[in-house]
């Protein structure tokens, strides 16, 4: 007999893990330290996302990873329903939100709005999903990686 929470944990364990590429690997390495960092050009200073080898503005190949405040606003969201991969279907309908970062509004990170870092993907009442709502990043450990999630700022 597995309990409901064990079943939920099992389902959570099967969520897809990020498969970092060479450009994106530092993002996940910083995430493992609990830091939300975005690639920036070391020459002209402009932020860019997704990460890539050179700066589209000044074409410099020198980059650095700048720490973000972790604050943002919901730019948009969807609520996927099945058919879905089993681990996701088990928590559906859940939310996926797109967060525009307070430090760089043109950088929008996909994520999930949850009640706490390790809560299920469907833990937030859908009535609380609102474009423009203020959120901040938290990290959850899964499959040896740290994945950013988002919680509502206290209003």
């Amino acid at each position: 007999m597995t309990t409901a929470s064990e079943a939920a944990a099992e389902a959570a364990a099967e969520l897809l893990l990020p498969v970092p590429d060479e450009d994106g690997a530092p993002f996940w390495e910083y995430a493992a330290q609990g830091e939300l960092r975005v690639q920036a050009c070391a020459a002209c200073g402009r932020l860019r996302f997704p990460p890539r080898p050179c700066c589209p503005h000044c074409r410099s190949f020198d980059s650095e990873w700048r720490r973000m405040s972790g604050r943002g606003r919901i730019w948009s969201y969807v609520r996927p329903h099945p058919p879905l991969l089993p681990a996701y279907a088990a928590q559906a309908p859940y939310n996926v939100i797109l967060v525009e970062l307070a430090d760089a509004p043109h950088i929008r990170l996909a994520g999930n709005l949850v009640t706490s870092a390790d809560a299920p993907l469907d833990s937030v009442d859908p009535a609380r999903l609102r474009i423009g709502a203020r959120v901040h990043a938290v990290f959850t450990e899964t499959g040896g990686m740290a994945v950013p999630r988002w919680v509502l700022e206290k209003s």
Binding site: V78, P80, H81
Partner: protein, 383 residues
Amino acid sequence: MAATLKDATAIVGIGQTDFAKRLPQSEKELACRAILAALADAGIDPGEVDAFASYTMEETDEVEVAKAIGAGDVTFFSKIGYGGGGSCATVGHLASAVATGQATVGVAWRSRKRGSGPRPWKNTAVQLPTPGQWTRPFGLLRPADEIGMLARRYMHEYGATRDHLFNVAMACRNRANANPAAMMYERPLTREMYMTSRMISDPLCLFDNCLETDGALACVIVSAERARDCRQKPVYVHSVAQGLPAQHHGMVNYWNDDPLSGPAWTAARHLWKQADFGPQDVDVAQIYDAFTPLIPLSLEGYGFCGRGEGAAFTEGGALEMGGRLPINTGGGGLSEAYVHGFNLINEGVKQLRGVSTAQVPDAATCLVTAGEGVPTSAILLRS
């Protein structure tokens, strides 16, 4: 600067197989059947084909197809990337090849068994591609989820509603109801059905999504001069364009300054610049409709209305027969068949031949577009 593609080539043959959820034939056989049907329609012997164009996602390649249909020596072949964004570019590439003397008889095709295959998001073992690191772990798994995100923002910014999306679904379904070849022939849709249908990715419901289809289509392109001697009335390729905007990211176009102005805008600028007429002169349009929100976004991108006005444009029967801009007159991807948009090309040809099952009286100009949300393409056809 004498070189121009304008009306230099024409589509002289079209062919298609049955459209169904499940067909017994292989994709290769379906491709060959559609291509041979298109050549027969044109009255051109398969041995004369010397150019091929298809999509990078097309699984039957030109080597196999050329052998099977008995093509002669082939001197031009081309594959266009980005899924449904490639449809119109297949015609564009062949038009360029024929107009510049690289080939004389070009065949474009798309064959697909999407209705039969397993869906990747039902399969636990599937390996998802690397760019997915920014979206997939969070459960943004399917195209409907990715486009649903843009649709919600569009609704928020411009007051678009589910009723506007219903207008799109309804227009396509009404045309399919008149088209015996359509998967949704004689299967009417009501507002009640739409509003109570299950959600796929809220705000998108079942009827906001294209069909899953097995089937193939093809068309034949020759020079305008040669076209005059073919069996069918020529449909001229008036203008062609591809569009990959600066800082675009396929499907999840979330990271540029303006995610709601997609590749349609880029393709449109070039398309109209090369044309003798503008959006106000288009008699009928075949607009890529994998998802209903792509229609208002495309109406804006191709200049039929202003930014943010695409949803309102769908009101008052504008997309229906006799409306301001009848669209997807075979039923489109939403209600005829979803074959990565190739049916929209052939339907455009039918309109300009005057033989559509939802014929726009005296239609002489038609816009056909490819997938919006990915690097795209478009053609203007005229009779």
